[in-house]
């Protein structure tokens, strides 16, 4: 049976993890390759690297770091953040990323998804959607969640899949950083509308929160702080999920 995935997310600027990773009883890890390796060894089903600087120079540093990680880690690696062209996608795939996540640039120019999917296959094109509750629904935000768009997030999710996205990474801007749980209604709504896997993001504070997101229909739950701060180990999260009958690796 296909397992649900638990994914730690590393915020990387150039070649460094911005928020350091503190494993229980271990030193702070600021080197992203080491942090990715440590998470893979600790049971992570996938690693997401979020590039939080978009300059060209930093993009080269990111590619070089991805190359080092890709050679060493033995779980899948998804890279996203500031990807604005098919050339970026190509460079990251050549560096060894298994999947590349696009966000703002794809909302502004949805053909980006189509071009990348046609060239490299849907299975390596992830569309990240930053959603915030507005009125009775959700709007898609861009530029790291700073800019509201006129696009309904749920409708955009469907369109992104029609364009060829093989996976959606759905972040609730309302829940992000608050650690009170994922936006389950958002996850249920989107997973009910699209045929591709959905990764839940934003709001993880406890292992039960990740299990809630997976029960709501997400194929994977992504978290940053609870793992980086050493609050919970990946295996603790998986144990809670297993106890609730979710299929875990």
């Amino acid at each position: 049976m296909l397992r649900k995935r638990i994914i730690p997310c590393l915020d990387v600027s150039g070649g460094r993890v911005v928020k350091g990773v503190n494993f229980v009883n271990l030193r702070d890890i600021g080197e992203p390759v080491e942090a990715a390796l440590a998470y893979a060894a600790a049971g992570a089903d996938e690693i997401v690297w979020l590039n939080i600087t978009a300059s060209r120079e930093r993009f080269r540093e990111l590619c070089e770091a991805v190359e080092r990680a890709a050679e060493q880690i033995d779980v899948p690696l998804t890279v996203g953040g500031g990807i604005s062209s098919v050339e970026h996608v190509r460079e990251l795939l050549l560096a060894g990323a298994d999947k590349v996540s696009v966000n703002s640039a794809a909302l502004r120019r949805p053909e980006l998804i189509e071009e990348a999917a046609e060239r490299f296959g849907s299975q390596c094109v992830v569309c990240a959607i930053d959603a915030r509750r507005v009125g009775g629904g959700w709007k898609a935000f861009v530029d790291g969640g700073r800019t509201e768009t006129e696009h309904d997030a749920v409708a955009w999710a469907s369109r992104a899949v029609e364009r060829g996205a093989g996976e959606l990474l759905v972040t609730s801007m309302d829940a992000d950083g608050v650690q009170t749980g994922y936006d389950l209604e958002l996850l249920e709504t989107i997973t009910g509308r699209v045929p591709v896997p959905v990764v839940a993001s934003g709001g993880a504070g406890t292992p039960a929160h990740l299990a809630d997101a997976l029960e709501a229909g997400a194929e994977a739950a992504l978290a940053a702080s609870i793992f980086h701060d050493g609050t919970y180990a990946i295996e603790e999260v998986k144990a809670v999920c297993r106890a609730r009958g979710l299929p875990m690796r």
């Binding site: 649900k4 089903d45 033995d74 899948p76 795939l93 296959g121 996976e167 896997p197």
Partner: protein, 205 residues
């Protein structure tokens, strides 16, 4: 053991190459038809869509050297789309493959969601030199699969909600994995060690 990687410029070879090196192989990456024709272990990495991958193989004049090497008794191992290319035909772009294995590649049916993305069971159906680490849980990322394969070439299969597909195939010296061994943690590493041993044993024989 030298693993000769077919470089058809369709994408990243880095991860798979590093994983083969960890498994004890020396890796040679080439587009040279002569190097491929004389290789003992040919590895066909797989990325992108079957049609564009086959087109790239044709463009580089690599189809005949691979087929000739297989007929001569070289070991051939394909990964993901590289495994799919071993079969006679793929519905992804309606393209003929290398036809080293009987069967066709079609859009995966019976899965909860497509692409079939994530970790799933690889369940052995019989004993085989490549199955020492099975059963295991391995990483998949694909929408097409082999679901009608001749049982003679299916070493292991993987269940979806309704049905299953061939996840590890082998017939004589031609084999392949639908999952990504380079991304399948210790089980993937064990498979690649098996591949190196499988190709090496025949050298001694």
């Amino acid at each position: 053991m030298i693993a000769t990687f077919v470089d058809y410029e369709a994408g990243n070879l880095r991860s798979l190459r590093a994983a083969f090196e960890r498994a004890g192989a020396a890796v040679e990456v080439t587009q040279n038809p002569h190097a491929i024709a004389s290789a003992r272990l040919i590895v066909i990495p797989g990325v992108g869509a079957a049609a564009s991958a086959m087109a790239a193989l044709h463009e580089h004049g690599l189809v005949q050297p691979i087929v000739a090497a297989a007929r001569r008794g070289a070991h051939v191992f394909g990964v993901c789309v590289g495994m799919q290319l071993l079969f006679a035909h793929s519905g992804e772009g309606d393209v003929d493959g290398l036809a080293l294995l009987p069967g066709t590649v079609t859009r995966l049916t019976g899965a909860r969601r497509l692409p079939h993305m994530g970790w799933n069971d690889v369940q052995p159906l019989r004993a085989h030199a490549l199955a020492s680490a099975l059963p295991a849980t391995c990483y998949f990322a694909h929408s097409f699969a082999v679901q009608d394969a001749d049982p003679a070439c299916v070493v292991a299969s993987t269940p979806v909600e309704r049905g299953a597909f061939a996840s590890l195939v082998a017939l004589d010296r031609v084999a392949g994995a639908q999952f990504h061994p380079e991304r399948s943690s210790s089980a993937g590493a064990a498979l690649l060690r098996d591949v190196v041993a499988w190709a090496s044993d025949a050298d001694a024989a």
